[in-house]
Amino acid sequence: MIPLEGEALFAAPPAEVFPRLLDPAVLKRCIPGCESLEDRGGGRYEAVLKLGVGAVKGTFKAAIALADLDPPRGFSLGVDAKSLVGSGSGSVRVTLAPEGAGTRLRYAGELRATGVIAAVGQRLLGAGARNTADGFFAGLAREVGSG
């Protein structure tokens, strides 16, 4: 089990940031390596993500589920991702708080891995997840303005 946590600062207030976090078009543009993302309704999405950490690369089919929506303060995000190199599942709670005229976003949760990647390098999956999250927030910051 790998703990996952991080934060990001946006120039726009939570009421503007929150809906964009749930907008499939924004997600597809901003998630690094996102090849496709489909809205299955009811807070469920299916995505194909190409993730890589250094020489290690994999294409993951990810089922994403949003729960406990509390606009514009936060939501829970569950991801179940499968690939040829192993599978990972994770859940994080995302919270948004006003900070000045902008938004401080924090996420915290954990990640579990199975398969080859878990046996030889679970830390790779943690680094991959963190890179993806950082890349996503950087992309989102470009859309809404960074703090």
Binding site: G54, A55, V116, V120, G121, A127
Partner: protein, 289 residues
């Protein structure tokens, strides 16, 4: 343990190799000694569509002195560096580090360029290269560029080298007067990788005024210069009290310390402190000798 199918190219010049990488983008991987890439391919954690083998490129080979710096060709093997009289005279810390890498098979096949660009957080080279203030030279489609070792290692298996770039050499400044140095490590006994590796090079004057460069590998997701420990040495002679103060600051606040089946985070933190102390004492003793 059989890799997925891949194409294989063996260019004879650096230009050809750079062009192959530019043509294939991120589905291509560079092969040097193969001791990092091939295990990943056998586990299928890496599945390059084309492998570009650098073994025939003469420009990447060799070790030579160029004025006030030592040039280590990317294809120089760990064993070649360990056995080089030129390296021993200019920078014995490199010889000591090379000799501690893995086992004879790894040292005879693995190359400094391959190891550095792979950026394994438990590799030995980063500790010495950070302590020595080495420079990494990269060649890509848009030409050459250089990156200081301190900016080259950016994360777990992630370096500043971009897709399509080939590491061509590592250069190390040669001090005017010899400096006492030491590389000490706790090896993971099966693989030889560093659970903790500490390289130190003392400033001129040896034990008189306390100042040292300290590079640490194996402990955090990214090898690092232990700036806090270096600062703790300042202000007087390199005595046991200052060494203990430096050892206490071996791991900076906020470091992402590794934790796995081989060693917990707490154990790695402990090792970092113990090995900073031992490496500084070893270098001090050598300075006096």
């Amino acid at each position: 343990m059989i890799p997925a199918a891949f194409d294989y190219a063996v260019p004879e010049t650096l230009d050809e190799a750079v062009k192959l990488l530019a043509d294939h983008g991120d589905v291509a991987k560079v092969l040097s000694g193969g001791h990092s890439l091939l295990p990943l391919m056998k586990l299928r954690l890496a599945r390059p569509e084309i492998v570009v083998d650098l073994r025939k490129i003469a420009e990447l080979r060799g070790i030579h002195r160029d004025g006030a710096r030592l040039v280590l060709g990317a294809a120089a093997t760990h064993a070649e560096i360990a056995a080089s009289a030129e390296v021993r005279d200019a920078c014995p810390l490199l010889v000591e580090t090379a000799g501690r890498i893995g086992d004879p098979q790894v040292r005879n096949a693995g190359t400094i360029g391959g190891s550095v660009v792979h950026a394994d957080p438990a590799a030995d080279w980063p500790a010495a290269l950070l302590a020595l203030g080495a420079t990494v030279h990269l060649r890509g489609a848009s030409g050459m560029r250089t990156v200081p070792a301190g900016e080259f290692f950016v994360g777990l298996l992630q370096s500043a080298a971009k897709t399509g770039e080939i590491l061509t050499s590592v250069t190390v400044p040669v001090p005017e007067t010899p400096r006492a140095a030491a590389y000490l490590k706790m090896a993971q006994s099966a693989s030889g990788f560093a659970l903790c590796g500490v390289a130190v090079q003392l400033a001129p004057g040896g034990g008189a005024a306390a100042s040292a460069a300290i590079g640490i590998t194996g402990v955090a997701e990214t090898p690092y210069r232990a700036a806090d420990a270096e600062a703790a040495l300042a202000g007087g002679p390199l005595d046991d009290a200052r060494i203990d103060a430096a050892a206490a600051k071996a791991v900076p606040a906020g470091a992402r310390v590794l934790s796995d089946v081989h060693a917990s985070e707490a154990y790695r933190r402990h090792l970092a402190s113990v090995f900073v102390r031992r490496a500084l004492r070893a270098a001090r003793d050598r300075a006096r000798a």
